[in-house]
Amino acid sequence: MGKKKIKYIEGKEPHEREYRLVFKNVDREGWDPSIETFLKEDGYKQLKKALKMKPAEITEEVKKSGLRGRGGAGFPTGVKWGFIPPNNEKPVYLICNADESEPGTFKDRYIIHQDPHQLVEGMIISCFAVGANTAYIYIREEFPEGAEILEQAIAEAHDHGFLGDNILDSGFDLQIYVHRGAGAYICGEETGLIESLEGKRPYPRIKPPYFPAALGLYMCPTIVNNVESLCDVKHIMEMGGDEYAKLGKPRNTGTRILCVSGDVQEPGYFEVEVGSVTMGEVINDLCGGLKKGRKLKAVIPGGSSAKVLRAGETYKIKQGDEDVEIGLEDIPMDFDTLAACGSMAGSGGVIVIDDSRPIEWVLNNINTFYAHESCGQCTPCREGSLWMKKVTDRVVNGQASPDDIDTLYSVAKNIDGRTICAFGEACSWPTESFIEKFKDELVAATNPDNSGELVSPESELAAAGLK
């Protein structure tokens, strides 16, 4: 396992603070995505074990493991599985969400590209647990090679009897299909994904009544799990739920792949036990520190929609029974602590921002993305995301007035909590948190002389980004 002697490609060795479980075979010397290679390393052994268990026992192990979804929301996977109505008579579907689109997140692609059978095995076990005979891998359009690798892996698994009818003489049937998206961030939202899979525009569904575990794909119970979460299921089978739960921290168990990007010496991916490293350690140890001569300005800890954390801030959190005050660099990278600090662990995408970055530029970059990706179904996000982007365009171009920052904030507030899906929060939290924490710097980028002036032509940025 993590500590076992595995040779990695030179220059891509895991950091000593890492605990490689899901990423065990990523960048491994002599490793390839073929089933032969996978089988040499006890591939599909956990599947054989699982098929001898009762489905409910597998779910129980996953519940015991404390595994929380690795896609962004951090919802307990076992609990999610338990939401399938007990008297259900409809088919159950399982969908692997491989639409990894959150800016700053780049973990699932490595699993897909380098270790696809790990995912397939995890999926088969999960399908057996939830009673799904049909599963889909919804993969984003931008992973064309990944889609082919997965197709190949599925074909190989079929050839070896791990997929298809009567898998390994267990009586369990399963087909897995790869479905390629068409290039929309919103397809990562589970109900949007389901709509897309049904051949429609990926408009997220209203909840209630459309909770996927009860009314999902084709109005049947559907479990949507992230790539990393499904891989974790295989390891939970291997270790047992209780053992897995010993990794990480209580309520924040297991390992987590952090994707660090931005202004650090060595950005990249790091699989660590949840909460075992602090933000400072991520930046300074795992990533070799900030760029030369630069100071830390801010960190977005869980993908671009997570609220920004500002260097120099302090946070009051509970350690045991004690209230303690910690700084940004002291934050342990786990779900609960990041939430207590006013942000979230999200998708694991850590974006580091140093003092070379004008903060309005960072915010505008994020706003441009969300304005481009809003699906347009519901009013606040559809209209508000582009409005926010246009305002920050002007801030960047020196055409904004201080009043615009107040308008910007209230637009974000008018989106937050008012939309069909979590995209509303995803697009408004950056603006809210950047203004809450960097108002001085944003206002400094404006000019009172611009007040009241009507802006006409769309800025070049707007034209380039959206037309």
């Binding site: 929309a184 525009r201 408009y203 809003s374 347009g376 519901c378 606040p380 559809r382 409005w387 009507l454």
Partner: protein
């Protein structure tokens, strides 16, 4: 109230007061039932609820979740304390729950409405002065209630296609569209013609018709009615009249036997549009395009507006006074034996008019009365196979056999045994009569609305009032008695059919007349059992079931299923 019934009712607090509603009621409908309107754009009770406009967001609360075994704390009325949620809920798609609280007047609800209003308008062209929807636009209405006088939006608006031709009767302005998707859902869910959809995304989302398709189904104009803004406009109505000048008259469509309930929009003597009116026993809230647009003939250039005579020595008809025309007609009838006279009436006439035909026939002992059957095709939605609007009325009043008498009349005219013919509404040349045969009659009395070849062959031409110019009743294909109201005055000297027939009887027999349609109805109710005890007033705006038929309305049957499954409110 029985115990069982009680459990079907749910206690809900709305703006501080407790009410009871049936289980499964949507929050928005619960509010509506107690007179609290929740503003909305995308929600339509006859369509599924996508919850996309967010205008109906309200503050919502529930009683706290109790620890196992804990007893709820109740106030003096026996209600649990409500924990108000920080996140607002849409009232359209959510159903009520026991002890739920709804606040439509709280700061949170107000902020939500103001926020959504502002966002809906930032990219809207605000071209109300030239927009057909102005005056009946939800954006305008809710702006008054929840909007601001100024805008904080300083950016360039998103540009979208304007004046888009998406079908033969409809035009689309994408900049006005608020993406509520009502039109898309209507096409998809009600008329099985899913030709509309959105392209692009985010703020650039654009309603459009699928490539190579058009919105051309016979129900397309309903999308204009349900469009809450001016995005979809009717080619027929656009730029014709500001809606606030329109007088609204409740009526029904006479284009087929369905009798879809309508509102006629008129100003002075002109009708500008006809829109469907909700009647869940007839047409839900929809009507077909053909019926909707079938009012223009009332304003046709071919409209007969003066009584006319063609004297033996003259080659053309000349306008005369009613007195002269009626005298001529009365003379023509009294000049003949009753066996030499026939009447071709119409199942397009009202019950009252048909009853007057009956009285007329009785007055002159005329036995031979025909009506013209009009059987076409139904369409599995609303359009009925019977294209006559009052076949049931004609059968009840004139008897079953008139439908089969047309051949008899025709052959008797051809062989010369019928010498005087009264024809009302029908163009006989379209019914196998020849011009020569008609011209060989001693007298042809044509009571018509439009100039036509039969009227042109007649010696007396008497103009009558159309469906929107008179009061009266008809019985539709499912046996429902419905009422026409007068929307406009008839042009020129036009009279109603019953008045014309009355005047001829009076001229020939010197009998006292009937002076109001109420009197006429009373006489009819006394004579014909089906109308016993009824009056025009008692028919009401939605009509009343009069006779049993085994006919169902396909569209309404599907609607009932959708209500039962909870998909729509109905």
């Amino acid at each position: 109230m029985s115990e069982e019934k009680k459990t079907d009712l749910v206690d809900v607090q709305i703006n501080g007061d407790w009410h009871q509603f049936p289980k499964g009621t949507r929050m928005i409908e619960a509010c509506r039932q107690i007179g609290v309107d929740v503003p909305h754009y995308c929600y339509h009770p006859k369509l599924t609820s996508p919850g996309n406009c967010r205008m109906c967001l309200v503050e919502m609360g529930m009683p706290p979740r109790l620890a196992p075994g804990a007893e709820p704390e109740l106030d003096e009325d026996g209600h649990q304390d409500i924990q108000w949620m920080p996140r607002p809920a849409i009232a359209c798609a959510n159903t009520i729950a026991p002890n739920m609280g709804i606040r439509t007047d709280s700061d949170l609800t107000k902020m939500c409405r103001e926020g959504v209003m502002e966002l809906l308008l930032i990219n809207h062209p605000l071209d109300c002065p030239i927009c057909d929807q102005a005056g009946e636009c939800s954006l305008q209405e809710f702006s008054v209630e929840h909007g601001h006088g100024g805008s904080r939006f300083r950016e360039e608006k998103v540009k979208k296609p304007k004046n888009v031709d998406i079908g033969p009767r409809i035009r689309l302005d994408d900049e006005r569209c608020i993406m509520c998707s009502r039109c898309i859902r209507f096409c998809d869910e009600i008329v099985d013609d899913p030709v509309l959809g959105f392209t692009d995304r985010g703020s650039h989302t654009t309603l459009t018709v699928h490539p190579g398709q058009e919105l051309a189904n016979n129900y397309s104009l309903n999308t204009v009615d349900i469009c809450p803004v001016g995005a979809l406009t009717s080619n027929d109505f656009r730029f014709q009249m500001r809606v606030w000048f329109l007088k609204e008259t409740k009526s029904f469509c006479t284009d087929c036997g369905r009798g879809c309930n309508t509102v006629i929009g008129s100003r002075e003597t002109e009708i500008y549009r006809q829109t469907p009116r909700e009647n869940n026993d007839v047409n839900s809230t929809w009507m077909c395009d053909r019926g909707r647009l079938n009012f223009h003939y009332l304003h046709s250039e071919a409209r007969l507006t003066e009584p006319m005579l063609r004297r033996p020595e003259a080659s053309t008809h000349q306008n005369v006074t009613w007195k002269e025309a009626i005298a001529h007609a009365a003379q023509a009838i009294t000049d003949h034996e009753s066996g030499e006279i026939a009447i071709v009436a119409s199942a397009r006439l009202t019950n009252e008019e048909l009853y007057m035909v009956k009285r007329f026939a009785k007055a002159f002992d005329i036995d031979l009365i025909a009506t013209v059957p009009r059987i076409g095709e139904d369409d599995d939605y609303l359009s009925a196979a019977d294209k006559n609007p009052n076949t049931n009325g004609a059968k009840i009043i004139l008897g079953d056999k008139t439908e089969n008498q047309l051949d008899t009349v025709r052959s008797k005219v051809n062989e010369g045994s019928v010498k005087a013919l009264i024809v009302i509404e029908e163009n006989l040349l379209n019914q196998g009569f020849t011009k020569e045969a008609l011209e060989s009659l001693d007298s042809l009395i044509a009571i018509h609305l439009l100039a036509n070849s039969t009227a042109s062959a007649a010696d007396v031409v008497l103009p009558f009032a159309g469906f929107a110019e008179k009061r009266g009743s008809m019985i539709n294909v499912t046996g429902r008695l419905q009422r026409l109201n007068k929307a406009i005055d008839a042009p020129g000297q036009v009279l109603e059919v019953w008045e014309i027939l009355r005047d001829i009887i009076q001229a020939a027999k010197g009998e006292n007349g009937i002076y109001t349609i109420e009197d006429l109805f009373k006489l009819m109710a006394n004579e014909i059992a089906a109308f016993d005890g009824l009056s025009l007033a008692k028919i009401g705006d939605l009509g009343i079931p009069l006779i049993e038929t085994d006919k169902t309305i396909p569209l309404l049957e599907r609607e009932k299923e959708r209500i039962a499954s909870g998909l729509i409110v109905g």
